[in-house]
């Protein structure tokens, strides 16, 4: 009996003791070890304004950025920046909960789809004034606009392009896809090439006599069909998701529907692409790096996030411009840097952002190929371009310059919808779900979209 009681009491005591240990060091809110040291050099006569900057990334990436911020902190004596790193997967959820709790940072990054929405909720400050009087401004396509005001600038520039596996092309004796925009392939030429590169286990090509679509061992292409990337093809076919001012939904138009069907047909009819249902974000890993697909469309950030490592492991890949249906189109995008309206120090936050957004301070991300610069001088002035691209992380200078740098500032580059219209997250989620059975051929794009057009319009209007 007594022992029983003792055990019970002991358990409770132990439990309390453990939790006391666990929680004893919870006093400070988000004190970061790096911040104290930087106070000294400036000589803290006047109290510095403390700014919290949130970013997505690991703790290590956080401390890298903190090191950059420390340089900023040491360079002047008014502002003290502290970096808070949050994992990418949870970033928006976390910010949303922080907003609910009234604990938002002063400034930070925001994922693309959230910018206009947060602005609509009155959570963001206007940053139009940020580059007043500066000699180099961000590319025009990189400003997030809500009701005519610039509410954020993209932290980086990103575009979509075509990757290809050079060895597969060499083996099939097929010329590489063009890196120059004026030589871009038409969609049909693209499909024809893809057929030549698709092999079943007997070595037959798609379209050849006796080709077995059930035992394909190498696919010609894979066109990423995440909802937001599909907009490229709708635009390219003369349609689009929205009207240019973002007020109307155009996805029901013949041209938009046809474009989506063409993408689906790569798997269904042409048998040149693996089935992909637009669910995961590892397109390049599944295709080019896996060595199962000869060409794949995706963002240029893949060079830094995965292709560099694959190159070290022996992959030989190239970059090219996207094929086109009627118009040559690629999408520009880039996560935003915003100033939250809950902040008490918008001026200081903007000063920090402007300093931080200059490429010299993001060099690690840019030189690895994950980000592209936002300021126009890097695209227009060749000495800057060379400084950026002539680097073992990138494909050969001429190829990358033509297929990425020039492509990004050409007429073909259009801003992704989330730069100018609201509720893109809702819209894209719904579109993805509507198209689920289109990729597998259970229904056609026309049927699926017509049936759900009202719901899509409602999603775009924000009244799902």
């Amino acid at each position: 009996m007594k022992t029983g009681k003792k055990i019970g009491v002991g358990l409770i005591l132990a439990a309390f003791a453990m939790s006391a240990i666990g929680c004893s060091n919870n006093g400070g809110n988000t004190a970061s070890p790096g911040t104290d040291a930087t106070n000294t050099p400036a000589g803290s006569k006047t109290e510095k304004v403390k700014i919290v900057y949130s970013m997505w990334g690991s703790a290590e990436e956080g401390s890298t950025t903190q090191a950059v911020a420390d340089k900023f902190n040491a360079s002047q004596d008014r502002i003290e920046v502290e970096v808070q790193a949050i994992p990418w997967e949870n970033y928006m959820t976390k910010l949303n909960t922080l907003a609910t709790a009234g604990q938002l940072p002063d400034t930070g990054m925001l994922q693309e789809g959230g910018v206009i929405q947060w602005s609509g909720e009155g959570m963001l400050n206007d940053v139009s004034a940020m580059y007043e009087g500066s000699d180099s401004k961000p590319l025009d396509s990189l400003a997030y606009k809500h009701e005519g005001n610039t509410v954020a600038y993209a932290a980086a520039n990103e575009i979509l392009l075509l990757y290809y596996n050079k060895e597969m092309f060499d083996k099939a004796n097929v010329p590489y896809p063009p890196a120059a925009l004026d030589q871009a392939w038409t969609w049909d030429a693209f499909v024809e090439t893809a057929k030549k590169l698709t092999l079943d286990k007997n070595g037959k090509h798609s379209g050849e006599e006796g080709f077995d679509s059930q035992s394909i061992v190498q696919y010609g292409t894979s066109v990423e069909n995440l909802s937001w990337q599909l907009e490229t093809w709708a635009l390219s076919n003369g349609g689009g998701f929205y009207s240019e001012d973002g007020t109307e939904v155009r996805i029901g138009e013949e041209a938009s529907v046809e474009a989506i069907q063409k993408v689906a047909d790569l798997y269904l009819k042409d048998h040149v692409a693996p089935l992909s249902v637009g669910q995961t974000d590892d397109g390049i890993q599944r295709t080019i790096i896996a060595g199962t697909v000869a060409m794949a469309t995706n963002g240029q950030w893949n060079i830094g996030t995965s292709l560099n490592t694959a190159k070290e492991e022996g992959l030989s890949y190239g970059v090219a411009v996207l094929p086109y249906m009627k118009d040559k189109v690629t999408l520009n995008t880039g996560g935003a840097n915003v100033v939250f309206s809950q902040t008490k120090h918008p001026e200081e936050a903007m000063e920090w952002l402007k300093w931080y957004n200059s490429e010299e301070n993001n060099w690690a991300l840019i030189s690895s190929g994950i980000w592209m610069p936002t300021l126009d001088k890097w695209y227009k002035d060749e000495t800057f371009t060379r400084k950026w691209v002539e680097n073992p992380n990138f494909p050969p200078y001429e190829e990358y310059k033509s297929a990425v740098v020039d492509y990004a500032q050409s007429d073909a580059a259009r801003p992704a919808a989330w730069f100018y219209t609201n509720y893109t997250t809702d819209f894209n989620t719904l579109l993805g779900s509507v198209l689920g059975d289109v990729w597998t051929g259970k229904t056609t794009a026309k049927e699926a979209i017509t049936k759900n057009l009202d719901a899509l319009k409602a999603a775009h209007a924000g009244s799902k």
Partner: protein, 307 residues
């Protein structure tokens, strides 16, 4: 039982001290129920009547969220159907699988504890990783299962990418993950007094008869528990959608809890999400009430509870 006859005499004296002990025992649970369950539930109810986004202060909008949900929401109907479909498949599959495995593991077989660990371990792995691991096996073009299929000359199946296969495929994972049920069944089987079996064996009862008339009746409280737990857990399914399918293809895996998550944490419609939540609550309640109502007919209580 004799106790029942004895009770009335002692009632006044014992009842009060018995009750006092009971209340002491229940203090923690009582606090938990109030502060962690029912007050928050009231909160959910309140928020569901607003258009709160989590960002701006909420405005009261009456039942508008519910009206929207039932009249114009593009997902809710598919979502309810798919959730129930998944839950039914998974519950049936995992109950049969886990009872079967537990019975086998309860026999005297070599390396018993090794095998127990094998069947249980899936349950202790991080859920997200499990789904990623399975997604490779299921992968439509190059996955292992499809490799096997094409080796034996069958057409490939898009387990995850095809809306007619995805729910059964995910259910299979959920059956595989039912190690917790196996453990409870095993613990329950250990509690079936072996004297009963010995006595029955003396009487010449065969294996099936012993299972039917001894094991099953003794196990009914445990079976009920497992059934209830797996039903509730599977109706609340969300991880596969979060980790693997994002609700697709189509709406085929847009489970209710995932829908709610999406509304609250992706689209910031917290008021709307709270309304969805109460729908989930209602559906769960219906299933649970049915289960409880029918339970008296088949549960055998050795302890003879006075309920």
């Amino acid at each position: 039982m004799e106790t029942v006859n004895k009770l009335p005499k002692r009632r006044s004296r014992f009842y009060s001290s018995e009750a006092r002990v009971a209340y002491i025992c229940l203090i923690p649970a009582f606090l938990g129920l109030i502060f962690l369950t029912y007050l928050p539930l009231l909160g959910v109810l309140g928020i569901s009547l607003t258009n709160w986004t989590g960002l701006k202060p909420p405005e009261f909008i009456g039942f508008e969220n519910y009206i929207k949900l039932f009249t114009s929401d593009p997902y809710i109907k598919d979502s309810i159907i798919t959730t129930i479909y998944f839950a039914v498949l998974s519950v049936i599959g995992s109950m049969i699988y886990s009872l079967f495995i537990a019975m086998m593991l309860n026999r005297k077989i070599p390396a018993r504890s090794f095998f127990r660990a094998v069947f249980y371990i899936p349950y202790v792995l991080p859920a997200v990783a499990i789904y990623v691991g399975w997604s490779w096996l299921y992968e439509g073009n190059f996955g292992f299962f499809n490799y096997l299929l094409s080796e034996i000359g069958l057409n490939k199946i898009h387990f995850i990418a095809d809306s007619s296969y995805v729910v059964p495929s995910l259910s299979l994972i959920s059956v595989w993950l039912s190690g917790n049920l196996i453990v409870i069944f095993l613990a329950g089987l250990q509690n079936v007094p072996s004297v009963y079996h010995e006595a029955a064996e003396m009487d010449g009862a065969n294996g099936w008869q012993r299972f039917r008339h001894i094991t099953l009746p003794c196990m009914t409280p445990i079976i009920f528990y497992n059934l209830l737990m797996s039903l509730i857990a599977n109706l609340q399914v969300v991880t596969p959608a979060l980790a693997l399918t994002n609700g697709g293809p189509g709406n085929s895996t847009r489970f209710l809890t995932y829908l709610m998550y999406d509304q609250a944490f992706v689209n910031y419609k917290i008021g709307y999400a709270c309304a969805t939540t109460l729908i989930i609550f209602a559906i769960l309640s219906v299933f649970t009430i049915i289960l409880f109502k029918t339970s008296n007919r088949w549960i055998y209580n050795e302890g003879g509870d006075d309920k």
